[in-house]
């Protein structure tokens, strides 16, 4: 089985701080990491490979040249190949344009029986690229996958996390799945894996290698535009509210959700 895992290098949002004077986000010194739920997607693909010798796992990312560091990490975990799609023409893409671009890269790689993505990236938190990618590739999708079992050839049984429980679904490959953190605990890197990762070559793609044009990707092609950004005031630590109980409850829950604690 050939599997392509879509990964993203993201700033560790837990390390992002707000400048107390300018109220802007301090990005300097914030470490870049493999998006956590993408690591779950990669781990599950590697487990399938462990059970099915001969299976192949390709880690694919779209991003700046620096994202190669994250791809090395994917190789060190056990990915067979790593592919970086990097081109100025794709910069600033929204989820629609990103999905067009990654779908094209997957076609350029000859497609796969299983496309695995993390549910969402911790910088954007949209959870949109997975389903949009499935649409572009004409594949069925199962999002919020918390458990995966391979049945007979080409048939998967998955548990899809819901708000108050889960659904058990069966789906045939080729399919796109999105992983949630409950799916597994990603493996640690081994010294041997790290050494081997530096012997492997990272394949670099540009828009020239793809079957799309600048009209399908990048900032200008994106249907959505960022109108403005601002720093929320209520999310700062140490706030004190003294008002109607309902309003305080609403503010509190909004703050906790934004911090992903509930």
């Amino acid at each position: 089985m050939k599997m392509i895992v879509c990964v993203k290098q993201v700033p560790d949002t837990a390390e992002v701080r707000i400048d107390p004077v300018t109220h802007t986000m301090i990005r300097d010194g914030v470490p870049s990491i493999l998006n956590p739920e993408d690591a779950n997607a990669l781990e599950e693909s590697l487990r399938i490979k462990d059970r099915h010798p001969g299976a192949k796992v390709i880690a694919l990312t779209m991003g700046p040249p620096q994202a190669q560091a994250m791809l090395r990490e994917c190789l060190a975990m056990g990915a067979d190949e790593a592919v970086l799609l990097t081109d100025r023409a794709v910069a600033g893409a929204d989820t629609w344009a990103t999905a067009n671009t990654i779908a094209s890269a997957i076609r350029a790689l000859g497609g796969a029986e299983l496309i695995f993505v993390g549910r969402q990236a911790i910088d954007g938190d949209t959870a949109q690229v997975g389903p949009q990618l499935a649409e572009r590739l004409g594949l069925p999708q199962v999002t919020y996958v918390q458990k995966l079992t391979t049945l007979e050839d080409g048939l998967l049984q998955v548990e899809r996390r819901m708000e108050q429980g889960y659904e058990v679904l069966r789906v045939r490959t080729p399919v796109l799945l999105s992983a949630v953190k409950e799916l597994n605990a990603p493996r640690c890197l081994s010294i041997l894996g790290i050494c081997e990762a530096y012997e492997k070559e990272i394949k670099i793609l540009s828009i020239q290698d793809l079957d799309i044009t600048p009209a399908d990707t990048g900032l200008n092609a994106s249907p959505t535009k960022v109108y403005r950004t601002f720093t929320p005031k209520t999310e700062r630590a140490g706030v004190l509210w003294e008002e109607d109980a309902g309003r305080m409850a609403g503010k509190l829950l909004t703050a906790l959700r934004e911090k992903h604690v509930i």
Binding site: Q128, V129, M162, G165, R170, A245, G250, L252
Partner: protein
């Protein structure tokens, strides 16, 4: 690749009427509340889109009561349960046929599965998990505001050219529509031409999970009470909140000494030292001995009627008020979010 619609011919504000076990998900009432404001500002109709296994007049009158002017009611046996393929096919066809200006979904596990699939198919923009929506008075465009970077930043997003403008909206944030008995709506019945082979996932089983109690040291969430609860009965409300958040209850030494609760629940220097993700102190003034046992918690929330209480000095979120009012308000909002 793009066959999206132009802004000039589109009209009306649509709300996806998501169901949970055959009843409207609470977020639908919130979408109708927010959708009403947007539709009124634009001078458009507010429409609900309902997909069911068979036509359900009870749901029609509920949607009408909550303010829908028009209900697109698609009924087909293959729509009895949510599937990405089935729902995306029917909704896409309806959107292309009717050209809505705005389409809103709850940012639920269903909404976040469905909306992006449709947005890609109709080649329009989609903004995830919005916490505020309004209309730009100059352009008439929908301004969609959402948190990013783990809530460190807010971004307002526009979809200026393509239509419809699509958003998923975070549950529990918007005000619910007010229900008016006997309000009527125009019902547009839809008979989709859906075939079994279009649906590529097979549902084997839907499992409901109930929450269970966890121990003090393992708890991710602790709701703790002190003398400010006023008596042992106060812990019942704390238990409700703890149960709802998948956590457990704790207590201050003063409350344990008063005999209101079992000593195993005591948090503090002489009790258990805890480091949960969330610690909610209710009616606890914040004696040093208590603080020593819980100050390592990731997030500390304090609810107290005395705004001078020392607990507020260590709290990330301080709520000056009576826990008997604040906790029910939190529970009510959590209920809206989940179901």
């Amino acid at each position: 690749m793009s066959v999206s619609q132009s802004a000039s011919s589109s009209q009306n504000v649509w709300v996806f009427a998501e169901l949970r076990d055959g009843v409207l998900a609470p977020v639908v009432m919130e979408l109708l509340g927010e959708g009403r404001k947007l539709a009124d500002t634009l001078g458009h109709k507010l429409c609900a889109v309902l997909l069911t296994g068979s036509s359900d007049s009870r749901l029609h009158s509920q949607l009408a009561g909550y303010g829908a002017d028009r209900i697109y009611s698609a009924a087909h046996p293959l729509l009895a349960h949510y599937t990405t393929d089935g729902f995306a096919a029917v909704l896409t066809e309806l959107i292309l046929q009717e050209s809505p200006e705005i389409v809103l979904f709850g940012a639920t596990h269903v909404g976040r599965d469905l909306a992006p699939r449709i947005a890609a198919r109709v080649n329009t923009g989609l903004t995830a998990d919005c916490t505020s929506l309004d209309i730009d008075p100059e352009t008439g465009n929908l301004r969609q505001t959402r948190p990013a970077f783990g809530g460190n930043l807010m971004a307002t997003i526009l979809c200026p050219v393509r239509r419809p403008q699509m958003s998923t909206v975070r549950p529990g944030v918007m005000d619910k529509a007010v229900f008016l008995e006997g309000r009527s709506a125009e019902i547009i019945p839809i008979c989709p031409a859906l075939k079994e082979e279009q649906i590529r996932t097979q549902l084997i089983q839907a499992v409901s999970e109930t929450l269970h109690q966890v121990s003090l040291s393992e708890a991710r969430v602790i709701v703790s009470g002190g003398l400010g609860l006023g008596g042992p009965e106060g812990y019942e409300l704390l238990k409700k909140l703890a149960g709802r958040l998948g956590g457990t209850i704790g207590a201050s030494r003063a409350a344990v000494d008063a005999g209101w609760i079992d000593p195993t629940r005591q948090v503090g220097q002489t009790g258990t030292t805890v480091k949960p993700d969330v610690y909610i102190a209710c009616g606890i003034s914040g004696a040093i001995q208590h603080l020593a046992g819980m100050k390592g918690s990731k997030i500390i929330i304090a609810i107290n009627t005395n705004r001078e209480a020392p607990i507020f000095e260590v709290a990330d979120y301080g709520l000056v008020g009576d826990y008997k009012e604040v906790i029910p308000a939190i529970l009510e909002r959590l209920e809206r979010t989940i179901s």
